[in-house]
């Protein structure tokens, strides 16, 4: 199914799970350098098949939008496919549709990325096109306005048709009192409706420049050929003075736990989720984010995890339960736990049972066997991840646009290996405090009256 402009919804584990690295095994031979105009380049050779994945990541996302313009980062991402002065009316996409290239783009809170996958001989052409649309975008009301309707449909599909997505959006808004991570990436509906051509161009001119971008090429290439091509294409785009350090409003110290609830006649299966503010890899104390990754695994990954064992297997009050940690963020990270009750279990009872599991880890710590299992799996996942060039490219892109260096991303498994049991206990004790949290409860409700509202 085609999803141009997939929005990377924050709060899912998909963005954060494992990262690549050396471990005991030789990892990919990654190069990292900068062009004269400040554009960073990462090359990830994978010579098994003569194909390439070409990505450009901009260090801008929905958290960089000005107040009242939610959704502009994502809307612009859609509009980037409309064509440039040099390559009008979507010529880039048309060429890809002829040569057999796949393409797409995605927007998160901290980054916006564009990618193509083709046979390797097309790489020079991809780089010319992508460098051209870094500054050459041309927009008209004729192509902007229908695309805004597309985005509104996208919002209806992703959020408005799904009570659990509506609730999740409300939970994020409650979690962040001051920081723009509380705004939905796709934007609030009333603000999307008001976005226009000029808003998109303004945002584009401020943020799209080589000194705010990272080029990642993975596949059947070597660093020298990519460097030569990059200098010829992206290297010709002048750096922009508009690029400023990314400073967003800071969250105040959290002092009161928050709760959001949605009872909807469309819901047949209740659900409980809790979100905590936590540090991210960009701002955690040394080893702390790694300990949170291990904690999330031990608490809630798979059928041996603490939450699954307690709630699903032993007490039999839930049909599933889990935990996740999103450490890939420029500002605050997030830690989450969730469970789906069995019929007959109240959400209150489920929540108490979750709290007991969390409190036990904070009080008594973890067993060495479960720590070893978690490390084994997290490190092995980083080997498995190397099997997929697109996945590797995404790991580096998301890491580098959220404050990590190539070297930090590479050595992640080694730091996981060093996590001590006491650090995991301390992470639970320090960060899983109710005052830092939002608890969300999704429940069925009696059908509304059939009268039009």
């Amino acid at each position: 199914m085609q999803t141009l402009a997939a929005v990377a919804i924050a709060g899912t584990a998909a963005l954060t799970m494992s990262r690549p690295a050396e471990t005991a095994i030789a990892g990919p031979d990654i190069s990292n350098f900068k062009l004269k105009n400040g554009m960073e380049v990462v090359v990830i050779p994978d010579r098994r098949t003569p194909v390439v994945t070409h990505m450009v990541w901009y260090r801008v996302g929905s958290a960089d939008e000005e107040a009242g313009k939610t959704g502009i980062a994502h809307f612009l991402e859609h509009l980037m496919f409309k064509g440039t002065k040099k390559n009008p009316s979507g010529r880039f996409s048309k060429v890809l549709a002829e040569i057999g290239g796949q393409e797409n783009a995605f927007t998160s809170q901290d980054y916006t990325a564009y990618f193509q996958r083709t046979s390797k001989e097309h790489l020079p052409q991809l780089m010319e096109f992508e460098a051209d649309r870094m500054t050459g975008l041309v927009l008209t009301d004729e192509n902007v306005l229908p695309e805004r309707d597309v985005v509104l449909e996208e919002r209806r599909s992703r959020t408005d048709s799904d009570p659990s997505a509506i609730l999740s959006e409300a939970a994020q808004a409650a979690l962040f009192a001051n920081h723009p991570y509380g705004k939905p990436i796709i934007g609030w509906e009333h603000e999307i409706r008001a976005l226009n051509r000029q808003d998109a161009l303004d945002f584009y001119k401020i943020h799209y420049a080589p000194n705010n971008a990272i080029l990642i090429v993975a596949g059947d290439v070597n660093a020298d050929e990519v460097r030569a091509l990059a200098e010829k294409t992206y290297g010709a785009v002048p750096a922009a003075a508009s690029i400023k350090p990314r400073v967003r409003p800071e969250e105040p110290e959290a002092r009161a736990q928050r709760r959001v609830e949605l009872a909807d006649p469309r819901v047949k299966q209740p659900q409980l989720s809790r979100y905590y503010l936590a540090p991210s890899y960009a701002n955690a104390a040394a080893g702390e984010a790694e300990a949170l990754d291990v904690l999330a695994h031990i608490l809630g990954s798979g059928s041996l995890s603490r939450l699954y064992r307690a709630l699903v297997v032993e007490q039999q009050i839930a049909v599933n339960a889990g935990a996740w940690y999103q450490g890939t963020a420029l500002d605050k990270g997030r830690f989450g736990v969730y469970a789906t009750p069995r019929p007959g279990t109240t959400l209150d009872a489920l929540e108490s049972a979750i709290d007991l599991v969390l409190a036990k880890v904070a009080a008594d710590g973890i067993e060495s066997a479960e720590l070893e299992r978690a490390k084994t799996r997290l490190i092995a996942d980083s080997v498995y991840a190397q099997d997929n060039q697109s996945r590797l490219a995404r790991m580096y892109g998301s890491g580098m646009t959220t404050g990590s260096t190539v070297d930090q991303i590479r050595t992640w498994p080694n730091r996981i290996r060093e996590v001590q049991p006491e650090a995991v206990r301390e992470a639970a004790r320090k960060w899983l405090e109710l005052r830092r949290s939002v608890t969300s409860r999704l429940q069925p409700a009696a059908p509304k009256s059939e009268k039009p509202s």
Binding site: L4, G101, E103, V150, L152, D387, N388
Partner: protein, 450 residues
């Protein structure tokens, strides 16, 4: 314009041919010492071994009134086997970071195994236990049942899932394709451990098994592991015969009322089986109509020009006992009728006139040029090798495939269109509050939420 395309195509065909040939050359059709056939690729890039395998027979094998049996059987396989209960079994996997999963599809029951090479023996040994000595302990079965019921409850309120389930229910009455693979609240409640054991005995055997392996070892070493995994399975499956069925209700339009701001529309009718000689022309035709991501007619007319939807697509769904042409769109309630009429109009148009020469050339060029992208990771390669075996396309298919696309002519495409797109007669299921009056009665802007 046309000449440019032809030139580009020739260039692509040459480079792609070499990419594809180098891939094809690595595939070995091998036999284990125990006599099991498997397809293997040696890839020393990573210290891993992966296997994808499938037994023919999936939810089509569910007993009447007990839909969901195959799905549940597959879900319980790794919940305890041999002397190991669910917890002990999962511990064995986790301690070595072995990734094992099973799932029942409509026509197959599939498994996937991934391990570091150093744990290969244990990984394939544990798989063998799961396949040949699953315990089906009561507590594990009840746990899986509770999870299945929860996912069915969620499905019942998801507009997309509901549209699909209702479409298949109407298209295939009295046929296993008509029931959701995971079953219904009623049918899942009826499934007993005896049913799971019977499904296990009947479906998991050696004569209906296809295997693809890839990893840092040669075929001989992989063969020993394959034997280890599948030793002790019965020689012959006891599959329940399934009849071939054509979709019913074609031409109908069924609305399922749901209080959502957007209507999910699923449409479909008879398509082609994979073995049909016109399947490849039909595949090219569908790429032009609704398969090509940002280039298809449906994408351009519904999304790009009019902004009526985020997602609109069509595809061919060849199955063992039917062949379907399917598609879908999610569009605001007050313009659902307009979207549907544009889509059906496009289908009629391409059925009547066929694609233009330029469209046909571009579609072929895309499909040929993008073929190597299906082979850039171990899991993709194993997946491709498995599909080729399941569809009986032959080990030389990777070498032949682009030639088959290249050979498609305008006449082939028109003939294929006549097979399944004539009159654009479709069974259409709409979930939402679609306004199907011919003229939109309400103003264009829907009321804001909340």
């Amino acid at each position: 314009m046309k000449r440019t395309i032809v030139t580009i195509m020739t260039a692509i065909a040459l480079t792609v041919a070499s990419a594809v040939a180098s891939m094809a050359a690595k595939i070995e059709r091998a036999k284990t010492p125990g006599g099991i056939e498997f397809w293997h690729v040696r890839d020393d890039t990573l210290p891993m071994i992966s296997m994808e395998f499938a037994f023919r027979g999936g939810s089509t094998q569910d007993p009447a009134e007990k839909a969901g049996t195959a799905s549940m059987m597959a879900a319980v396989l790794d919940e305890g086997a041999g002397e190991l209960d669910a917890r002990a079994f999962q511990q064995q996997l986790e301690e070595r970071a072995i990734v094992l999963s099973f799932a029942a599809h409509r026509d197959t029951t599939r498994g996937s195994l991934k391990s570091l090479i150093e744990n290969g023996e244990q990984a394939f040994g544990l798989l063998n236990l799961a396949l040949t000595r699953p315990r089906f302990d009561d507590d594990a079965v009840e746990r899986i049942r509770a999870g299945t019921l929860a996912s069915i409850r969620r499905r019942m309120t998801d507009p997309g899932d509901l549209a699909q389930d209702r479409w298949f229910a109407r298209a295939f009455p009295n046929h296993p394709y008509g029931t959701p693979q995971r079953g219904t609240l009623e049918s899942v409640a009826k499934i007993g451990v005896d049913d799971l054991r019977a499904m296990h005995r009947g479906t998991l055997a050696r004569d209906n098994l296809k295997i693809a392996t890839i990893g840092a070892m040669d075929a001989a070493a992989a063969g020993l592991l394959v034997d280890r995994a599948f030793a002790g399975l019965p020689a012959k499956a006891k599959l329940v015969p399934v009849t071939y069925a054509s979709p019913q209700g074609v031409g109908e339009r069924n609305v399922v009322e749901m209080d959502v701001p957007q209507t999910v529309i699923m449409f479909g009718g008879a398509g082609l089986k994979r073995s049909d000689p016109d399947f490849i022309p039909a595949y090219v035709l569908n790429h032009i109509l609704g398969g090509g991501s940002f280039s298809s007619r449906l994408y351009l007319e519904v999304r790009e020009k009019r902004g009526l939807a985020y997602s609109v697509y069509s595809y061919l769904a060849p199955m063992d006992y039917s062949g379907l042409f399917m598609g879908g769109v999610s569009t605001r309630n007050d313009r659902a009728a307009e979207s549907l009429s544009i889509i059906l109009g496009e289908i009629r148009e391409i059925a009547a006139k066929g694609p233009t020469a330029e469209e046909l050339a571009k579609a072929k060029s895309y499909l040929i040029g993008s073929f190597p992208l299906r082979f850039d990771s171990s899991s993709k390669i194993a997946g491709q090798l498995l599909e080729i075996q399941l569809e009986n396309l032959g080990i030389d298919y990777i070498d032949r495939r682009n030639g088959l696309i290249e050979a498609v002519t305008a006449e082939d495409v028109k003939r294929a269109a006549n097979h399944f797109l004539t009159d654009a007669k479709m069974l259409v299921t709409l979930v939402g509050r679609p306004d199907l009056a011919p003229e939109p009665a309400r103003p264009a802007a829907p009321a804001p939420r909340g």
